[in-house]
Amino acid sequence: MSTTTEKPNDTAATDTASHDTTAPHAKNDHDKQPKPLSAAGRSLALGVLFGIVFGFLLQKGGVAKFHVLIGQLLLEDFTVVKVMLSAVVVGMLGIHTLHRADMVEFHIKPTRLASNVIGGLLFGCGFALSAYCPGTGAAALGQGNFDAIAMMVGMVAGSYIFAEASSWISRNLDPIGDKGKLTLFDLFPQSRTAVTVGSASLLVIVLIVLELTTIR
């Protein structure tokens, strides 16, 4: 079950030519110039950079706080849904536009009804128990909630337990209701832009209703 789609030429291959340090006459030039980052190094550096921004935003949005997450699940505090839907609206319109301009690829995860539903419910149960999700838990640790360490250790253990069961699950559960990489565009094939703008508008209406009806 692959969760990310990797493009083979993830990062530019152009800087590989300058890695030849065996030629003695070239060595001095190399010492003077800053060494270009390798493709893997660039990917790691971007990962940590995007992570810092993500963690900063999660903390500022209050979604690293125990009571904000539990408050959402108790349907008292709607901060989590407001953050998520705002991100989805902006990302939906932005990534659709970038995709139309041929600047990005989609990364659609497959629809497998049984696994999506059972896995989703199990996840939700764990979400309420720990009060953190995988991303906000890391942010909670960053803001000093040390109980998030227990959740993160549990995540590592749970991932290994899943790997033990992965062969059985992929044979017995994943095929149930397996629809492949199904999107709303397949269900409404008329116009991708209309489907995108329509979905984003619906979510904006939900956000407006939430803003008018909720305390927080």
Binding site: K60, E76, N116, A128, Y160
Partner: protein
């Protein structure tokens, strides 16, 4: 643990209201919109969607490779997803750092084991219970996220914004499971 929870429910469980505790520092709409922009940047510069749960699976595989390499390499998930320190692991490490910078700059560093709302509900002596519950929650979340194919960020934000049907189903199930469990823990 169940017995202990029942025992607690008869003695010290207090009513708690999540709105009595501090809210977000910034507008949730602003933060959400900026996360949306961030997801555009990760698609463009890294060709990857935002997602947090994969990092824990990578860590599990790397630890497995240290402790029991032959067994770990036979497991289907790790054959399909070879464990390594990659973009996803760096993303989660960055999240810890970024949240620290945010909490430090905004005077919101907590530095404690028990969240105030948990402590008000389950008492000041509930540290071990909190560690066990958070650990168990982590196990369930990781298992569920891998089975469903992603977590609150991978499905809940990155998948839904691409209008993937499975991501919307999974995200709705996250909240159904979470609401039922949270109601049982805090509202009964």
């Amino acid at each position: 643990m169940i017995l202990e929870t029942r025992f607690l429910s008869m003695t010290v469980l207090a009513d708690v209201n999540p709105l009595e505790y501090s809210g977000p520092a910034w507008s949730p709409y602003l933060v959400g919109a900026l996360i949306g922009v961030l997801s555009m940047l990760t698609f463009y510069f890294s060709n990857k969607p935002l997602g947090a749960s994969t990092a824990y699976a990578r860590a599990a595989g790397m630890l497995g490779n240290l402790a029991a390499p032959r067994h770990t390499q036979r497991l289907k998930y790790f054959q399909d997803n070879p464990p390594k320190v990659g973009w996803e692991v760096m993303l989660v490490l960055g999240v810890v750092l970024g949240a620290f910078l945010s909490a430090w700059s905004g005077n919101e560093w907590t530095g404690r084991l028990l969240p105030p709302m948990w402590q008000d509900r389950f008492g000041t002596e509930s540290g071990l219970l909190r560690v066990i519950v958070a650990f168990g929650g982590g196990i369930l979340m990781a298992f569920g996220a891998r089975m469903a194919g992603g977590c609150t960020s991978g499905h809940g934000i990155s998948g839904t914004l691409q209008l993937a049907v499975g991501s919307w189903i999974a995200a709705i199930c996250f909240f159904i499971g979470g609401i039922i469990t949270a109601m049982l823990m805090y509202a009964v």
